[in-house]
């Protein structure tokens, strides 16, 4: 186990663009850190640099007390699980898991013990003599994790390990990985573009965008207090609703004029000018008066209903999350939305969140 420090990490390809722009991050010993972000945001490149599979253009990677920039991958004390599993197709499961230990010159007994222990943890003991092509997707994923476990690494690196699995298996493996982290207590870094995985698995989440970290925090911190428009829009399904509003300061509060003309007072916030109001789908409800909208579509998801409704003059529809037994207006009908002012977020023109003082919540 080890802590991991990233100091001003940059990555520039030869004659190409800069894909990582000076990332600073401290990952605590035993922490489950999730890198999340859209495709091409640099999260996988960051992980490959930690693993030693990509050169670092500038900055420092510290694993434990060692500056790892020039340390070869195998000596960094990291093990990586790839999206494609990357199992050696010509080797059996046992040989796949033993390969790294064999190269490290471990004795046959040590190798056998380590493989048996890892296969017991992952319940793949009965698969040890099979070749990867004879395994299902979930079994292959377990073997790939097993190959990482046998090396007893300080840091586990998971590069979108569940994205090739079907939905049901993904949920199951998500739970198993979380349990594995609890059992092993190792430092784990997990790359995903799936916000559900990020929210459910991570002790903390680092949200990447265009080669920068937008925000680092616990899943709930990020969900409840997003630092900017990107994080607010990226985490949460359906995504946070945004409304352009004009605001003026009114004592210790901000007064906001909503589309339709209604005024909303946000205690604890002090901002004025053209701002963006953010409100999550579960914090909107239909009422007798409020923001007038026309209902576009109602989606029934079983446990909840998502209503998409358009406010006058707005191109993007607002999403409203209702309980499955709540009455939902019909498509095409007119309705009014009440906004819970305590749950509103305000973003300035630079996209950064305007913080509200504690008592406001």
């Amino acid at each position: 186990m080890a802590e991991l420090k990233l100091k001003q990490i940059k990555k520039t390809y030869d004659e190409g663009p800069t894909v990582i722009h000076g990332v600073d991050l401290d990952i605590r010993d035993g922490e489950f850190m999730v890198f999340v972000g859209p495709s091409g945001c640099g999260k996988s490149t960051m992980m490959r640099m930690i693993a030693g599979l990509e050169d670092i253009s500038a900055g420092e990677v510290w694993i434990g007390d060692t500056l790892a920039n020039d340390v070869p991958p195998a000596k960094r004390g990291v093990a990586m699980v790839f999206q494609s599993y990357a199992l050696y197709p010509h080797m059996t499961v046992r040989e796949n898991m033993a390969f790294g230990l064999k190269l490290a010159g471990k004795s046959k007994k040590d190798i056998d013990d380590a493989v048996t222990r890892a296969s017991d943890i992952l319940q793949i003991g009965h698969l040890l003599e099979r070749k990867p092509k004879a395994l299902s997707g979930g079994q292959r994923q377990r073997v790939a994790i097993g190959r990482a476990i046998v090396r007893k690494p300080d840091v586990f690196l998971f590069d979108e390990p569940l994205s090739n699995l079907d939905a049901a298996l993904r949920v199951q493996m998500r739970i198993e990985l979380t349990r594995l982290h609890q059992d092993l207590g190792s430092t784990m870094i997990y790359v995903t573009h799936d916000q559900v995985e990020a929210m459910t698995m991570g002790d903390r989440i680092a949200v990447f965008n265009a080669g920068r970290i937008e925000q680092v925090g616990t899943p709930l911190e990020l969900y409840q207090h997003p630092a900017n428009l990107f994080v607010a829009g990226f985490l949460g399904s359906p995504r946070m609703n945004f409304l352009p509003v004009s605001a003026s300061i009114f004592g210790h509060s901000t007064s906001i004029r909503l589309p339709g003309g209604e005024l909303l007072t946000l205690p604890g916030a002090r901002a004025e000018g053209e701002l963006t109001l953010g409100i999550r789908a579960e914090h909107l409800r239909f009422a007798e008066h409020g923001v007038p909208v026309t209902v576009d579509l109602v989606e029934h998801l079983g446990d909840v209903q998502i209503v998409y409704a358009r406010a006058a003059g707005q191109s993007e529809p607002l999403a409203i999350k209702l309980g499955s037994d709540s009455p939902a207006p019909a498509s095409g009908s007119r309705a009014w939305l009440a906004i819970d002012s305590a749950q509103c977020h305000l973003f300035g023109q630079d996209g950064q969140a305007i913080r509200r003082t504690e008592h406001a919540f």
């Binding site: 195998a74 990357a86 010509h90 390969f99």
Partner: protein, 288 residues
């Protein structure tokens, strides 16, 4: 209305089936014709070798042997030392195959998986050698081999052909087809470049290695001009060269020469029959 609907559908289906049948028949006809054109010279040689009487050059040529027997084969064994020639052919072929596999795969690996300046130029230069027929190199190779003191040796026959462009190309394609993640996984597992080559790349390139083995084996077994230039001592001749001793200066027994040719081709034909599946798979990889 509902009753008439299936009729046109059935008619269309029948028409499609007929088209398919006609298409398939044409394919088979063309392929059969090609097969006959390709196989006939071998068949004629076999018929000539097995016949013990009659005119060799009758027209139309005979399709079945006349008074079949093995007399011509017996005469081959009496006239030349077939076993010694076989031994020489086997030594040359096996060493050529082993050398080619080692040299081509080791040359192809950096071209496929490593980044270094001039990589494409090097590969282009290797490919350019495919434009020239190998006979063009004979003079230069002969002078080189002679000056290195390798004239009249197995090494002299084997060495110049080891780094063939076809072999390097075939192996490069095979190495490039190995997913990058496997190489990365091996790196994280602690493998050195050599261990990646040996433990990961070579086993995964097995179909290409098999194809290259067969290609090289056929070429090495059948080569005639180069060994006959390098070798001076008849006791070191491979079978393909030695069989020419059957046509002496004053006599020319065509049936015996045909029997010698059959004996030369037979081993390679048997090897090919058992390994053609790899041979074809190797070419699959080369054109994908």
């Amino acid at each position: 209305m509902e009753k008439t609907l299936p009729m046109p559908r059935a008619a269309t289906a029948k028409k499609i089936n007929m088209n398919k049948l006609a298409n398939r028949t044409l394919h088979y006809l063309v392929l059969t014709l090609l097969a006959v054109i390709t196989v006939y010279p071998f068949w004629w040689t076999l018929v000539t070798a097995l016949s013990t009487s009659g005119d060799v050059f009758t027209y139309p040529p005979r399709m079945w042997p006349e008074n079949p027997g093995l007399d011509n084969f017996v005469e081959v064994f009496k006239t030349i030392d077939v076993i010694a020639f076989y031994k020489n052919s086997i030594i040359i072929s096996v060493l050529t195959v082993a050398g080619t596999l080692i040299v081509c795969s080791m040359a192809a690996y950096p071209l496929a998986r490593m980044q270094f300046p001039g990589r494409n130029i090097v590969f282009g230069a290797i490919l350019a050698t495919m434009i020239l027929p190998s006979e063009v190199n004979f003079l230069v190779n002969f002078i080189t081999v002679s000056k290195l003191g390798m004239g009249d040796t197995y090494t002299g026959v084997i060495l110049p052909g080891l780094a063939g462009a076809v072999g390097i190309f075939l192996m490069k394609q095979a190495f490039e087809a190995v997913p990058n993640d496997l190489v990365d996984a091996a790196r994280v597992d602690g493998a050195t470049e050599w261990q990646i080559f040996w433990h990961i790349m070579l086993p995964l390139a097995r179909p290409a290695l098999a194809a290259l083995t067969i290609l090289t084996l056929v070429a090495a077994w059948n080569q005639y001009i180069w060994p006959s230039i390098v070798m001076a001592s008849p006791d070191k001749f491979p079978l393909s060269v030695g069989v020419l001793y059957l046509s002496g200066a004053f006599s020319f027994k065509i049936r015996v020469v045909a029997a010698g040719a059959v004996l030369t081709v037979l081993p390679i034909l048997i090897v090919f029959l058992f390994t053609q599946r790899y041979f074809l798979r190797g070419f699959d990889g080369a054109v994908k």
